[in-house]
C-alpha cells in the first residue's frame, strides 16, 4: 500500500484509539489542527475531544497530567511538538515517569508513550532539530524507541502504546513525508522490537537508527560499488539496547561504525562502542568508530548539512576501518 510515515503513525494512533478506550492522546495543537505535522489529523473529529485532547502550552503539564491519567488507568500518548521542547518536561519524565513503577514497588504502572518528532535536516530554526535520545537512554525506567521505517513506525508505536512501561518514542521527522509502499501490520503479541539487520554484509558492521538508517543503506550501496560489503543494523530500540545482534555481527565483520545525529560525547554511539569492545575485544580488527553530530548546539539550518552525518562521512569512517584492515592484511601476506 502506498503510504508515508505520517500516515502510518496516524493509522497507528487511530487503531490504538479504536481498540482500547483507555488510550488517550494529549498535546499542543493535536486536536482541531491535527498536530503541526498532521500526525493526529482527523482523530479528534472521529474520537472526540476527550480522547484527543488539545492541552495548554506547557510540556511539564502535559507529561505530568499524563502521569495522573495513568494513575487513573489510562494509557496516555503524549505529543511533544518538537524535540527541543522536551526539556521543560524533563523533571516529570526523569524523576516521575521513569521512576514511578520502581518507587511504587511495582504497584503503579506507567503505560505512557511520549512521541517526539526529532532530528534535523528540514531547514528549521533553533530548537526544532535536536536529538535528545541519549538523555533518555541514560535514564533507567524509560524505554526508548526509534523506528526508521514506515512499517516500524506503525507497529512499534502500537507496541509502545501497549507496553506497560513508559516509552519515549522518537519519530524521524525528516522521513515523515517520504512515500513508500508498506504493509502496516499489528505487532505480534508479546513481541518486543529488536535490532534488525536491514542489509547483510561481511566487511564492516554499520549501526544506526531513525533518520540515519537510510544513510547507512545508501552507504552500503555505495560501498558495494567499491567492493566493500557493509552489514547495516537498524537498532530500532535504544532502550533496551539489543547489543547481542550488534555483537554477533561484529564477531563476523571485526569492524564497527556507529552513526547518529546526536552529539558525540556520551551518546548512544559511545555506549555501543564501549559495550562492543568489551564483548568482542578479541574479534575487533580496528577500534569501533563513531560518526555523529558534533558537540555543538544545533547550528543554523544553512550549516546543518555539515552537522548531520552524511554518506561521505560514513564512507570516510568505513574507509578508515577498511584501510587499516587492508594494510594489516597486506602486511600479513
Amino acid at each position: 500500500m502506498a503510504t508515508t510515515m505520517l500516515k502510518a503513525l496516524n493509522k497507528s494512533l487511530h487503531d490504538a484509539l479504536d481498540q482500547d478506550e483507555k488510550v488517550i492522546l494529549l498535546g499542543e495543537d493535536i486536536g482541531t489542527l491535527g498536530g503541526v505535522f498532521r500526525v493526529t489529523d482527523g482523530l479528534k473529529s472521529k474520537f472526540g475531544e476527550h480522547r484527543v485532547v488539545d492541552t495548554p502550552l506547557a510540556e511539564s503539564g502535559i507529561v505530568g497530567s499524563a502521569i495522573g491519567l495513568a494513575y487513573r488507568g489510562y494509557r496516555p500518548v503524549v505529543e511533544i511538538q518538537f524535540d527541543g521542547f522536551t526539556y521543560p518536561a524533563f523533571d516529570q519524565l526523569v524523576s516521575q515517569l521513569a521512576k514511578l513503577h520502581y518507587r511504587s514497588r511495582g504497584r503503579v504502572k506507567m503505560p505512557v508513550t511520549v512521541r517526539i518528532p526529532y532530528g534535523g535536516g528540514i531547514g528549521s530554526p533553533e530548537h526544532h532539530s535536536e536529538s535528545p535520545e541519549a538523555y533518555f537512554a541514560h535514564t533507567a525506567g524509560l524505554r526508548v524507541f526509534a523506528p526508521s521505517s514506515v512499517e516500524d513506525a506503525y507497529s512499534m508505536l502500537r507496541q509502545a502504546i501497549a507496553c506497560d512501561d513508559p516509552v519515549i518514542f522518537f519519530e524521524p521527522k525528516r522521513r515523515y513525508h517520504e512515500k513508500t509502499t508498506a504493509e502496516l501490520l499489528p505487532p505480534a503479541p508479546d513481541a518486543s522490537p529488536k535490532a534488525k539487520i536491514v542489509r547483510p554484509g561481511e566487511d564492516v558492521t554499520v549501526v544506526g537508527y531513525g533518520p540515519t538508517t537510510y544513510t547507512l543503506v545508501d552507504a552500503a550501496k555505495a560501498a558495494e560499488d567499491e567492493g566493500t560489503s557493509l552489514e547495516v543494523i537498524d537498532l530500532r530500540t535504544l532502550d533496551p539496547l539489543d547489543i547481542d545482534t550488534v555483537a554477533e555481527s561484529v564477531k563476523r565483520t571485526g569492524k564497527l561504525v556507529v552513526v547518529h545525529e546526536a552529539s558525540r560525547t556520551s551518546g548512544i554511539g559511545a555506549e555501543i562502542c564501549a559495550e562492543i569492545t568489551e564483548r568482542c575485544f578479541d574479534y575487533l580488527e580496528h577500534a569501533p568508530l563513531r560518526v555523529t553530530g558534533f558537540d555543538i548546539p544545533y547550528p543554523p539550518s544553512r550549516l546543518e548539512s555539515h552537522h548531520l552525518p552524511d554518506l561521505d562521512r560514513v564512507m570516510h569512517a568505513v574507509d578508515t576501518v577498511m584501510r587499516h584492515h587492508e594494510a594489516t592484511e597486506g602486511a600479513a601476506k
Partner: protein, 368 residues
C-alpha cells in the same frame, strides 16, 4: 533575618475561622452548612486522630534519633489541616500527597510499617496507592499537583464522581508545576482540589519570600474556586474541604484551599529551625494549637472530654507500640530488590545486570 519582615499584602479573600483560639464557635454563613452532619462523636474522632498524629511525630522523631529511621518530616502543628481535610474526602477520592502527609495516610488506614519503611530507607515506598487511594508520597516539590490535575482530567473524561486532591506546601506554590496544574485543571474544569498547607515556612524561607500576595488570591486569579481558612481550626478546614469537594464533584471546576497553619517542629529531623526563626513566633503559634482548640470547644459543648482524651491516648499508645514493633521487625531489603520493578515488562539488560551482580555477590560471599 530581614526576609522575615516582608509584609504580605492584605488579601481579597477572607480567612474563615469557625473556632477561635479560645475554642469559641464563630458562625460562618457560607461554611456552617457543611458542618451539619458532624456529631459529637465525629469531633471526638478528630481529637483522637490529632492526638495520635502528635504521638506519631514524637515516636518517629525518637526512632530517627535512635538511628532506626534515616529521616522524618514532622507534621507537628498541622494536625487539624491534615485531619480536617482528609476526613472530608470520600474514600475513593484520590489523594496526591507530599512527604509530610503522614496524617492523611494514617487516616486512610495505612499500616504502621508502611508509614515508616520509606523513612527508614528500607523501601522505595510505603502503601499500595490503589488500596488506599493515595499516590506515592512526593519529594520533588510540586510535581504531584500535576498528577492530581491529570487524574482529575481522567475523572472528567470518564464521568467518575470522585475528586482528585493534591496536597502541597506554601513553598511549592512557586514551582512551575503547581501553576501549570492550576492551568490544566481550570482549562478542563476538572474535579481537582488543591490543598495548600501554608505552614509559613519552606525550610528556612518564610512564605513572604514566595508570595507577596496571599496564596489564596493567586489561585483565585487562575479561576479556581478558592477558600482561605484558619488551618489550625479543624472545623473550618473540614467545612471548607467539604465545600470545595462539593464544588468540584458537581462539575463546577477545580477548587483551592489555603489552610493557614504553622510547622511547629523542624522541617525534618535534619533541620535546626533555631538558625532561622525566632522562638517568639513559635510561642505565638503554640497559642493557636489545633488540639487545644478542639479540646476547649468540646468543653464548651459540655462533652465528656476526659473520656475522649483517654480514648485518644489509648489510640496513641497503640500506634506508638505498633510503630516500634514495626521498626524492630522490619527486615532489610535483599540485593535482588535492586533490580525489581525497574520495568513492568521483560527487559533483558536489567535481567542481565541483575544476574551478573547476584552471581558476583554469590561468588564473593562463597569464595574469597
Amino acid at each position: 533575618m530581614s526576609t522575615q519582615h516582608i509584609d504580605v499584602a492584605a488579601g481579597c479573600l477572607p480567612t474563615h475561622q469557625l473556632l477561635n483560639v479560645d475554642g469559641k464557635r464563630i458562625p460562618d454563613e457560607e461554611l456552617d452548612h457543611y458542618l451539619k452532619d458532624l456529631k459529637e462523636a465525629d469531633l471526638a474522632d478528630f481529637l483522637r486522630d490529632m492526638v495520635v498524629l502528635r504521638r506519631m511525630d514524637n515516636e518517629a522523631t525518637a526512632l530517627q534519633r535512635q538511628g532506626q529511621l534515616g529521616l522524618w518530616a514532622p507534621l507537628l502543628g498541622q494536625e487539624a489541616a491534615q485531619i480536617g481535610s482528609v476526613r472530608a474526602t470520600n474514600d475513593d477520592d484520590f489523594i496526591f500527597p507530599s512527604y509530610r502527609e503522614h496524617g492523611v495516610a494514617w487516616a486512610r488506614g495505612v499500616k504502621a510499617e508502611d508509614l515508616l519503611s520509606v523513612w527508614r530507607g528500607a523501601q522505595a515506598s510505603g502503601w499500595d496507592p490503589n488500596e488506599v487511594n493515595i499516590a506515592c508520597q512526593q519529594i520533588v516539590i510540586g510535581s504531584q499537583a500535576l498528577h492530581a490535575a491529570g487524574y482529575g482530567m481522567g475523572i472528567k473524561f470518564d464521568g467518575g464522581k470522585q475528586v482528585s486532591v493534591a496536597y502541597f506546601g506554601d513553598g511549592a506554590t512557586s514551582q512551575g508545576d503547581v501553576n501549570e496544574a492550576m492551568v490544566f485543571a481550570a482549562s478542563y474544569q476538572a474535579p481537582v482540589l488543591f490543598f495548600c498547607q501554608n505552614n509559613q515556612w519552606a525550610i528556612s524561607e518564610p512564605v513572604a519570600l514566595q508570595s507577596r500576595t496571599q496564596i489564596a488570591d493567586r489561585a483565585h486569579g487562575f479561576g479556581l474556586k478558592t477558600w482561605r481558612v484558619d488551618g489550625n481550626d479543624i472545623l473550618a478546614v473540614y467545612a471548607a474541604t467539604k465545600a470545595a469537594l462539593n464544588h468540584a464533584r458537581h462539575g463546577l471546576g477545580p477548587a483551592f484551599i489555603e489552610a493557614v497553619t504553622y510547622r511547629m517542629g523542624s522541617h525534618t529531623t535534619a533541620d535546626d529551625p533555631t538558625r532561622y526563626r525566632k522562638s517568639e513566633q513559635l510561642e505565638e503559634w503554640k497559642a493557636k494549637d489545633p488540639i487545644d482548640r478542639l479540646v476547649k470547644y468540646l468543653h464548651e459543648m459540655g462533652a465528656d472530654v476526659q473520656s475522649y482524651e483517654q480514648r485518644a491516648q489509648n489510640a496513641a499508645d497503640d500506634l506508638a507500640a505498633k510503630l516500634r514493633e514495626a521498626i524492630t521487625s522490619m527486615e532489610d531489603p535483599k540485593a535482588e530488590e535492586l533490580f525489581t520493578n525497574v520495568y513492568a515488562e521483560k527487559h533483558e539488560p536489567t535481567e542481565r545486570a541483575a544476574k551478573n551482580y547476584l552471581d558476583y555477590l554469590a561468588d564473593f560471599e562463597g569464595g574469597e
